[in-house]
Subunit: 203 residues, 2 copies
């Protein structure tokens, strides 16, 4: 019927974009093919054409995050620890400003036991990536001498990761949570509270 060449291969991306929004605001179990197809103006079966099973859609979603995140981390490699921290913080601000979405790792870990096996595997890999990055920032920060904190970089990275994930979720209900937690992390890293004034590149 409509095989508009300008839109060729576009539907798949549109499905992913739309599903991503629903995923981050309502979760995977609460996401249905109908919600996507209705907004997109196609039939339910059209989604099934691109993603035969709901699991396929979920896996594609996480894999896209992983690729995107990998590129993002690569693009940050040359930056200093402080700038990387700024961009880390900026990441969660972007999510929050988009209709109070939360970070994918938050949705994935919360729904983890209800997810199909293949999605669990991908989630494991994705969260491993995020964890590694957070730890790397704490590590680099200490090496560069711009961050001062007790304990190992490992522990400090995990704390920042956990705190940001939790704060982003709780900010839906307590809007001051995100800024408060970010500011406190800065204090605990012995940074000046206004060290985060500059913006950064986010995926």
């Amino acid at each position: 019927m409509k095989c508009d060449p300008s839109a060729r291969g576009d539907t798949r991306r549109k499905i992913l974009d739309l599903a991503e929004g629903l995923f981050l605001s309502r979760g995977f179990s609460a996401l249905s093919y109908q919600q996507v197809s209705k907004v997109l103006g196609v039939r339910n079966a059209a989604i099934h054409y691109h993603f035969p099973h709901k699991t396929d859609l979920g896996v594609a979603l996480i894999q896209r995050y992983r690729r995107r995140f990998e590129r993002f981390v690569d693009s940050q490699a040359e930056l200093g620890a402080l700038e990387q921290l700024v961009n880390y913080f900026e990441l969660s601000t972007v999510y929050f400003s988009r209709d109070r979405q939360i970070c994918p790792s938050g949705v994935l870990s919360t729904e983890y036991p209800a997810l199909p096996d293949e999605m669990q595997r991908e989630a494991l890999g994705f969260i491993g990536q995020m964890r590694a990055w957070a730890v790397a920032i704490a590590d680099k920060g200490r090496a560069e001498g711009c961050m001062r904190y007790p304990g190992e970089p490992e522990a400090m990275g995990l704390l920042m990761f956990s705190a940001l994930q939790g704060a982003l979720q709780l900010a839906r209900i307590e809007p001051d949570m995100l800024v408060a937690v970010k500011a406190q992390i800065c204090r605990l890293l012995d940074l000046p509270p206004d060290a985060l004034a500059a913006g950064g590149t986010t995926p």
Copy 2:
């Protein structure tokens, strides 16, 4: 049929107990009347007798948490800040040990946009209680001189709240997350890492 007098009024509680477990491990949207009724050995309609709408079940669940939590906080009033922190930590350990459940505030904030209005209202109140308690611990800890940290007690309390919520979720995937984050919070509060050796009373 079976109106066993010893079980009178027991079904309602059993429903709540079972629903609570499913709620904490799989979330509210992924929780169905069938799952509860099947395990409980009753018909679907029996659940509807006690909780006409799913929203009623959800609200009852949160209200029970609130009552329970209030009693818990009251019972802690006389304790020192350090003991209260121990019990706070113990709370999340108990959740984790019960089949990797997460804390109610984590489920509620993650699913928040998909929840019915009445549940959102209750969630707001519940998370307000938890927030207040976390801040109170940080406050008391500084007043007693047993905790040393930069910034206001408000900010430190919110950080602990966020970090524990996030860590509990992430521990499903990265099992070392919970202990690592707890230990790091202790270091950041300038406590000895083994300050948490003692157990405490948890609800």
